[in-house]
């Protein structure tokens, strides 16, 4: 297995200072970029396997960096954001970022996100194989969902929703993405649909719907299907 190369884009030298040794120790090769322009150039010339991107950059908006990258590259992007920049984070995810980590974060959390993003690299919308999580089996080919051997009956919308999240297992899917994909672009703001259907889905697939372990809520951003255990 080749060593994955990670581009860290952050203008704060302190952040670079601790990320580089930590990621190196975790087995990655680290490239550094201090500005958005440097980042775009580095992605073009050095072909990193993943980009860690701080949204606040001195020369350009982090969201613009994502937008230009997504024009020609499918490289997974994990963004570093702050709690008070919630709307920026969601906008970044909608623009095509794969995941986010909120500052301050532990190295363990960051490496987990990196691993997950790398695993799904290159098969963003591929039909997943049969998938199992917490006793729930989802078979996209047969369109079958079962829990501990018993078939779970889902409405078409519930199934579409579950499948969309399954395809992005481990990654956050924003409200907007879920709504526009399952219900159509006209419903991009109808958050209450989503709340109702996620509630129904949890009733059917979770062992304890009040303590969901499969469909995790990402407050303010969207939902995330838990990783295979």
């Amino acid at each position: 297995m080749t060593v994955s190369r990670i581009l860290v884009v952050d203008d704060e030298p302190q952040i670079q200072r601790f990320l580089k040794p930590a990621l190196t120790a975790a087995g990655y090769e680290v490239i550094e970029a201090l500005t958005g322009a440097e980042a775009l150039k580095a992605v073009a010339t050095q072909a990193p396997d993943l980009v860690i991107l701080d949204l606040g950059l001195p020369d350009m908006d982090g969201k613009d960096v994502i937008a230009s990258l997504r024009g020609w590259s499918e490289v997974p992007i994990v963004i570093l954001s702050a709690r008070d920049r919630e709307s920026e984070k969601i906008a970044a995810l909608d623009l095509g970022a794969d995941d986010y980590v909120e500052k301050p974060f532990g190295i363990g959390e960051l490496t987990a996100r990196i691993r997950n993003a790398l695993r799904h690299r290159g098969r963003r919308d591929a039909i997943p194989e049969i998938m199992e999580v917490d006793g729930l089996t989802i078979d996209p080919i047969k369109r079958l969902v079962s829990r501990d051997g018993d078939t779970v009956h889902l409405t078409p919308k519930e199934y579409d929703l579950l499948l969309l999240l399954t395809r992005h297992t481990g990654r956050v899917v924003t409200h907007r993405t879920l709504l526009t994909t399952v219900w159509g672009p006209a419903h991009s703001d109808d958050l209450h649909y989503l709340r109702v259907f996620i509630g129904q889905l949890r009733q059917k697939i979770e062992r304890d719907p009040t303590q969901p372990r499969i469909l995790r809520t990402e407050p303010g951003a969207g939902y995330r299907m838990a990783e295979r255990d």
Binding site: D11, Q14, K103, P104, F105, L110
Partner: protein, 895 residues
């Protein structure tokens, strides 16, 4: 569909319902109407009250005169009676109705006897019906009593019938607006019986008048008036009921009266007659006066008379209007058509035969040209001196004198020139010279001079140029004829010329007034602040009207004086109360009005497009003439608009300040969150990295992470210290010590501290050897120097940093200089502002934006000064300079 249409048409008239709703919010007025004193109005009122009281109604007696009659007094038992207020009037103590007590008590019904009563001076309203109106507006029901002879429109009729002049009068609108009118009726013979039994109270002084008044004929006539008025009201109510319930009717007669008045004495009679006619026809009526456009309306007295007449007409329920036009008949007819009038009421003068021969009177002309209108002509009484008041204005002696001088002068000059010419050539038309003299006199001396000059010219011409010379006799008959023609031509031409002069004068005055108004509005347009606008207004008004002017504005919920001219003008309690009344009710108050007339000022509301903006008070001297009145109205309108505009502008500024504050808070929050989060993120990341991956790292990397943790912790604690310092400065709790400081020591300690934190930087110090001590807080000064050095490290590039200290006159001067990019001139002052940062526009500069601001706060708290210079040296860098006063060494205690 047809049914729908009909239903639609038969919906109740919305205006009628609206009027009903309006009335619901007000209190209700019940009038007990009688034909004469003694018919038992008070008795009826009180016995009704007693019944309601027994049913538990909240009814109180505000004021009732029992006149010592025991049966009436007996009725008062069991009723709550409000205390009266005392007022001294011409040396006598009077007990009067206490309006404020009634308003405070707020019963559902209050009884106030004698609607026609006049209050003594010093009361809020001069008339009781105004007190009652205030009670009704406050939502209190009022019962009151009225004798028919006190009704304004009947005043002259009553005088005619009984021969007694009624002084206390009540406007007809009061009775018209009453919600209920109860007629208390007693047959005249019974009343006379009661009078004989002594049951009718009358003041003793009026005995003879009483005998004249209480005659059977009089009482019968008055009774008829009262009955008829009540019947009219019943009719009105019926019409109202029909309208409100959408019942088709023949409702009103559809008549509309147009009443033409002038400044003559007959006009008052015209108005009264029209009022009775209108009430009999149940018709709305409008009173108009017509002015000529080319004549500055007559004299102030005549104007005043028209004004009084209009006020009377309004009280009687008429609409009033002023019209400007030269053809009276045409204007009247135009207005009549526009207003859909059906009848025109006009007064006529008694005219002598010559007058009648020369021209048609206005009523005649009107009758001739009016088609489709009824013309109702009011004639003067036989003995009425309607004509005698219309005498020509007697010219004042001085103007007569002046006119004579001018006339004689011009004629003398003409005669002299004529004589000279006559000796040189034989001029047949020498009379033209005199004509010139007449024109000259009329232009410079007016009509009177023209007339005199015409007569004098005729005489002089005859005396000097017509044979036989030097006599007033004329030889040739055709000369006689020529002389008369000359006289006629001279008088007519002179009249025209003087008229032109008059008009030029009027145009001049009007232009001046317009110019003055224009100047004022231009100045006013230049003011943006309320303060400027009001001072401009009061000074302009004072200059224009030559009397004291005050302007009051609402501030913090109360009206207070904002400007006055002359500026030392003061308002007493009455004035202020009147001003508040104007503000609250948006109507005139104070002198010359129905509210608090004994105030020295007349208060007018300033009504802008968004409601009332202030109140203007004008000292009362004599009544304002029409021009001044117009100017005043225009000025107040403009002021109101200017004040409204100023208020909007001020609100916009406040809004902007609020927005600025909001932006500032946001900057603060984002700054704090960023400056705390970055070190925190670094520490968390480094710690977790060390814990989870530590064994896989090189020793060097581990060391570096540990060091970054230490540095970031230091950074955070500095930031928190800065925030605390800043809040101490902001809260004003900073109390620097006043101890002796050696600048050298303080500089050294700050430089050492900076070196520890930025080891690579070269810091040079240059301190004058004999530097005096200064007083201050060494801890604060050290912090200031550290902040300045910190900034120099951040922005100074890689060049060295210089710290100098030396004596400069009475100051000790300390400077910190870096050789970085420097600061632009416009930012030099702003760098001391909170959260201002050099560098990146997204607010993510390395610093907190507090360092320099804290430095300034500390330095100023210690009595020093601080400023910045850039470029500092060779077009590069920034220098921050502090100055502290040298402490007097004499106060130093030797150790």
């Amino acid at each position: 569909m047809a049914d729908d249409d009909r239903n639609h048409d038969r919906r109740p008239d919305p205006d009628a319902l609206l009027a009903l709703a309006e009335r619901d919010r007000r209190g209700k007025l019940t009038v007990f109407l009688g034909a004469a004193p003694g018919v038992g109005k008070t008795y009826a009122m009180l016995s009704r009250a007693a019944r309601l009281r027994a049913d538990g109604a909240d009814i109180v007696v505000g004021l009732v005169e029992t006149h010592g009659r025991s049966e009436t007094a007996g009725l008062l038992e069991g009723l709550e009676v409000l205390p009266r207020t005392r007022a001294s009037h011409r040396g006598r103590v009077l007990e009067e109705f206490d309006l404020d007590a009634a308003l405070k008590r707020r019963p559902s019904i209050v009884i106030v006897d004698e609607l026609a009563h006049s209050n003594p001076d010093g009361f809020r309203h001069p008339k009781r019906h105004q007190d009652i109106e205030e009670l009704i507006v406050a939502g209190i029901d009022v019962w009151t009593a009225l004798n028919i002879q006190h009704l304004e429109s009947l005043a002259d009729l009553v005088t005619q019938i009984t021969g007694i002049t009624v002084r206390e009068r009540v406007p007809d609108v009061v009775l018209k607006r009453a919600d209920e009118v109860l007629l208390v009726d007693l047959s005249p013979s019974e009343l006379i019986e009661r009078l004989k039994e002594g049951k009718v109270y009358l003041p003793e002084s009026a005995n003879r008048a009483v005998d004249r008044f209480f005659r059977l004929g009089n009482l019968t006539a008055l009774r008829e008036l009262a009955l008829r008025r009540t019947a009219d009201r019943v009719d009105d109510q019926m019409v109202d009921y029909l309208k409100q319930n959408a019942i088709d009717g023949p409702w009103a007669t559809g008549e509309r009266l147009l009443v033409c008045v002038g400044s003559d004495t007959l006009s008052e009679k015209v108005v009264r007659v029209a009022s009775r006619l209108a009430s009999g026809l149940n018709a709305p009526w409008m009173v108009v006066s017509i002015e000529r456009p080319d004549r500055e309306v007559e004299t102030p007295e005549r104007l005043q008379r028209i004004e009084t007449l209009f006020r009377l007409a309004e009280q009687l329920g008429a609409e009033t209007r002023r019209v400007i036009g030269s053809d009276f008949v045409d204007e009247i007819l135009k207005l009549a058509r526009r207003e859909h009038a059906t009848q025109i009421v006009i007064g006529t003068r008694r005219r002598n035969r010559l007058n009648r021969f020369l021209s048609k009177s206005l009523p005649e002309a009107l009758a001739k040209r009016a088609s489709g209108f009824g013309v109702y002509i009011v004639t003067p009484e036989a003995g009425d001196a309607g004509r005698s008041k219309r005498t020509l204005p007697v010219p004042q002696l001085s103007s007569l004198w002046l006119a004579t001088v001018i006339a004689v002068g011009f004629v003398a000059i003409a005669a002299a020139i004529g004589k000279v010419i006559d000796t040189i050539v034989d001029l047949p038309n020498i009379s033209l010279l005199f004509l010139l003299a007449v024109l000259g006199a009329s232009v410079s001396g007016g009509y009177l001079a023209a007339f005199l000059a015409a007569i004098l010219s005729t005489l002089a011409y005859n005396f000097l140029f017509i044979d036989p010379l030097h006599t007033f006799t004329i030889a040739a008959p055709h000369e006689v004829f020529a002389l008369f023609v000359f006289l006629a031509v001279a008088i007519i031409a002179g009249g025209f010329a003087s008229r032109i002069r008059e008009q030029a004068e009027i145009a001049g005055t009007r232009a001046a007034a317009l110019q003055s108004l224009y100047d004022f509005s231009r100045k006013l347009a230049g003011t943006a602040k309320t303060e400027d606008a009001i001072w401009l207004t009061v000074s302009h008004l004072q200059a224009r009207l030559k009397r004291k002017v005050v302007l009051l504005l609402p501030r913090q919920g109360d009206l207070s004086m904002a400007a006055a001219w002359p500026p030392d003008t003061e308002l007493d309690v009455t004035d202020l109360t009147a001003a508040r009344w104007t503000h609250d009710k948006r109507e005139l108050a104070g002198h010359g009005t129905g509210t608090l007339p004994n105030s020295r000022f007349e208060f007018r509301p300033l009504l802008g497009p968004h409601g009332i903006v202030g109140v203007c008070g004008i000292e009362h001297r004599e009544d304002l003439d029409l021009n001044a009145e117009r100017a005043l109205t225009a000025i107040l309108d403009q002021t109101a608009i200017a004040l409204d505009r100023a208020r909007l502008a001020e609100e916009t500024v406040q809004q902007a300040a609020r927005l600025e504050g909001e932006r500032y808070r946001e900057a603060l929050l984002s700054s704090i969150s960023h400056d705390l989060r970055t070190p925190l993120a670094t520490i968390t990341g480094a710690v977790t990295g060390l814990r989870q991956l530590g064994e896989r790292m090189t020793a060097e990397n581990r060391d570096d992470l540990l060091q970054s943790i230490e540095e970031e912790s230091g950074r955070m604690s500095r930031f928190i210290a800065n925030l605390l310092d800043m809040s101490r400065i902001e809260a004003g709790t900073l109390k620097p010590k006043q101890e002796w400081m050696d600048v050298t020591d303080v500089v050294q300690s700050a430089v050492e501290r900076t070196r520890k934190y930025a080891p690579g930087r070269l810091i040079e110090t240059g301190i004058a050897p004999d530097l005096p001590l200064i007083r201050g807080d060494s801890v604060l000064l050290s912090q200031v120097l550290f902040n300045l050095l910190d900034n120099a490290v951040k922005y100074g590039g890689d060049e060295s940093i210089n710290v100098y200290a030396r004596r400069d006159g009475k100051d000790v001067l300390i400077s910190v200089t870096d050789l970085g990019k420097g600061v632009s001139t416009e930012d030099l002052d702003r760098i001391f502002e909170k959260f201002y940062r050099r560098g990146k526009p997204d607010g993510r500069a390395p610093g907190t934006g507090l360092g320099l601001s804290i430095a300034r706060g500390f330095v100023e708290a210690m009595g020093g000064r601080i400023h910045a210079e850039s470029p500092a040296w060779k077009k590069k860098g920034t220098r921050i300079i502090m100055r502290f006063p040298v402490a007097e060494p004499a106060t130093m205690e030797p150790r």
